[in-house]
Symmetry: C2
Subunit: 202 residues, 2 copies
């Protein structure tokens, strides 16, 4: 798949086919893609927790659901009649109930201070998403489990000084691939000075 | 370019051709790729500062060089005879002297707390790197300018409550594209339990 097509059509896929297995080889292929991303001083701090065990997925799903509830309420107060937000909330609520049903859960983990290590973590997450997309596998980036991170660590035997940066469900999506709605590039680009618009594309 | 090839061969390109211009269309194309990345609640908080003006690039280059000096010293004490670290340091020292010569400097900026907003910033940075790679443009992720972030804001007119997450030089590289050295995937992947190795591939 062309890299621009992968970039354009990789979006949050929150409805996954719980009954369609994902091969170990594909899991390792997407994690390998993640390892290619840059890290500060090439320190490569991330360790990838791959969760396949059904009981552990179920327990992580319960933790995720408990963490999602207050976040749902926050977004619901913000929705304010927006159909886009309402659609996202329905999809996110589905994930809240079904995180543990995803065939694979992936958690990038590392030591390193909150507020400093992220630049060595999240580029890798995007590589993983794009590689998954190219294999037909859906993913989505979630971080709300960190409200109960100690319980997540307990399920997986992760040391207390290790941060679990994200919880990423992966599986074959039940929905279709498409471009996500985003602001036009000219609206989010400033040229030489804050708020100065870019030249129009010629 | 195939997405797996782009992922495998995107590495820090710190030696850029100062004399070969980069088109505005290509700048906007890589920023557009960045906008496709996920953000928390699709909030799309990032604004992309594109710096083309030679005087502003020179001033940012001076700030970067001042910030790089102590970081160089830190890595130098860690190098401990490692040829990999020594090679990286030579390349990073070159960038320390020539940041302002890059045809384009890109700074992803947003409001949002340090330690929380990064998950909505750095996936976009990786999209930008991969799109640049596909266009033959080199980039590298740097964050040390934040040691003097107030001075960076002053050059570009950025408000005090906006974080400048990275300073990314972009241009045609003088070196060759190749895979960066990374640990094997089996060394950085744990299966169901911390430190438990993955199944062997194949």
């Amino acid at each position: 798949m062309d890299v621009f097509e992968a970039i354009a059509t990789t979006r949050a896929m929150r409805r996954l086919d719980a009954g369609r297995p994902v091969s170990d080889a594909d899991v390792l292929k997407v994690v390998e893609a993640a390892t290619k991303a840059p890290t500060g001083g090439n320190s490569q701090p991330v360790r990838w927790m791959v969760v396949r065990d059904p009981d552990k997925r179920r327990r992580l799903g319960e933790i995720y659901q408990a963490c999602w509830a207050p976040v749902h309420d926050f977004y619901a107060t913000q929705a304010d009649g927006s159909p886009d937000v309402a659609r996202m909330l329905r999809s996110a609520d589905h994930l809240g109930e079904h995180m543990g049903d995803a065939p694979v859960l992936l958690l990038p983990c590392s030591r390193g201070q909150v507020g400093q290590a992220e630049a060595s973590v999240f580029p890798a997450v995007q590589n993983l998403f794009l590689a998954a997309r190219a294999l037909g596998l859906g993913t989505t980036l979630t971080t709300v489990h960190r409200l109960q991170e100690g319980e997540v660590r307990a399920v997986l035997g992760i040391p207390d000084d290790v941060t679990t940066w994200a919880m990423i469900p992966m599986g074959y999506p039940t929905g279709r691939w498409a471009e996500a709605p985003r602001r036009p590039v000219a609206e989010v680009t400033y040229w030489d000075t804050w708020k100065e618009p870019p030249p129009s594309r010629g």
